[in-house]
């Protein structure tokens, strides 16, 4: 078998019987060998595999699907931003609540300045040596 004939067979085994599936550089081989007896037999074998593959033909994709996908993606973004905003707000609220509770439960040191009281709170001051 010549190099060209081997290449023809390799293409039929990889890409099937139809020339349009073959690499552009090899399509001339298809035209050349398809007319020979050996070439026709090779293509017939490849066509059986093609026929087998063609039996699986999923239902077409309806146009409304694109709208559904776009809607779902575009709706997802505000939802995620809302969730993030609510999480941040909840964290800030709980931190503020904790600070207020701690502040109220411990009487302020009369000698402490307002900024120190605000930053560390009255209960934490002895613990950090103030």
């Amino acid at each position: 078998m010549t190099n060209e004939a081997e290449r023809f067979k390799a293409c039929a085994q990889a890409y099937g019987a139809q020339a349009r599936h073959w690499p552009a550089a090899d399509q001339a081989l298809h035209a050349h060998f398809a007319a020979t007896e050996e070439g026709a037999a090779i293509l017939a074998a490849a066509a059986r595999t093609d026929l087998f593959l063609d039996a699986w033909n999923p239902s077409p994709v309806e146009r409304a699907l694109a709208d559904r996908i776009a809607d779902a993606v575009l709706d997802e973004q505000p939802h995620r931003r809302r969730m993030l905003a609510w999480s941040a707000a909840a964290f800030a609220a709980s931190a503020a609540f904790g600070f207020v509770v701690g502040f109220v439960q411990s009487p302020p040191d009369p000698g402490a300045d307002l900024m120190t009281l605000f930053i560390v709170g009255p209960a934490a001051k002895p613990g950090i040596g103030l």
Partner: protein, 170 residues
């Protein structure tokens, strides 16, 4: 993509309209089920919408999107050791008898099962080159292999299909 990066929802809708159809077809042939395919394609478009600002046009959008979809399919296979085997195609109403339609569905299911039994890259090579009719260079780029390696994947994949389905072919 520049307009999508600026939050242009209409531009995004046009992109989805242009690419969702072939995307779902490709992924359905990869994962074997329409519902999974739609979910994965939606995930891919979510990534497009969220990452549009970082888009660098090194390749055509379609080529790049094939790669995104292929990677999502690989993640899907890793997460689901056994792909669903449900038969959910519906043939359009027409002349074939109930028996013919049933036989066609059975045949389609056997093809799907035979393709699903191939290694993921062989399956992808067959789907990209035969069903999606991608040029060899684009299919090879999607799989991250050379064109020679792609041809080898195709040859081995089709040989295995012939072997496993001999009773269908003769």
């Amino acid at each position: 993509m520049a307009r999508i990066a600026c939050g242009d929802a209409q531009a995004f809708r046009r992109l989805v309209d242009r690419h969702a159809g072939w995307g779902v077809s490709f992924v359905e042939r990869m994962v074997g089920a329409r519902a999974d395919a739609e979910d994965l394609v939606q995930t891919a478009f979510l990534r497009v919408w969220q990452g549009a600002a970082k888009w660098e046009p090194a390749a055509r959008f379609r080529t790049w999107f094939y790669r995104v979809l292929y990677n999502l399919c690989m993640d899907h296979f890793r997460a689901n050791a056994e792909p669903t085997e449900d038969l959910d195609e519906e043939l359009p109403d027409g002349q074939p008898s109930v028996e013919d339609r049933y036989a066609a569905l059975q045949r389609a299911d056997r093809v799907r099962a035979a393709i699903a039994a191939r290694a993921a890259r062989q399956r992808a090579a067959i789907v990209l080159c035969y069903y999606q009719e991608l040029p060899q260079a684009d299919a090879a780029a999607t799989l991250g292999v050379s064109e020679g390696a792609l041809e080898s994947l195709l040859s081995r994949g089709r040989a295995a299909l012939r072997k496993s389905m001999q009773h269908e072919l003769h």
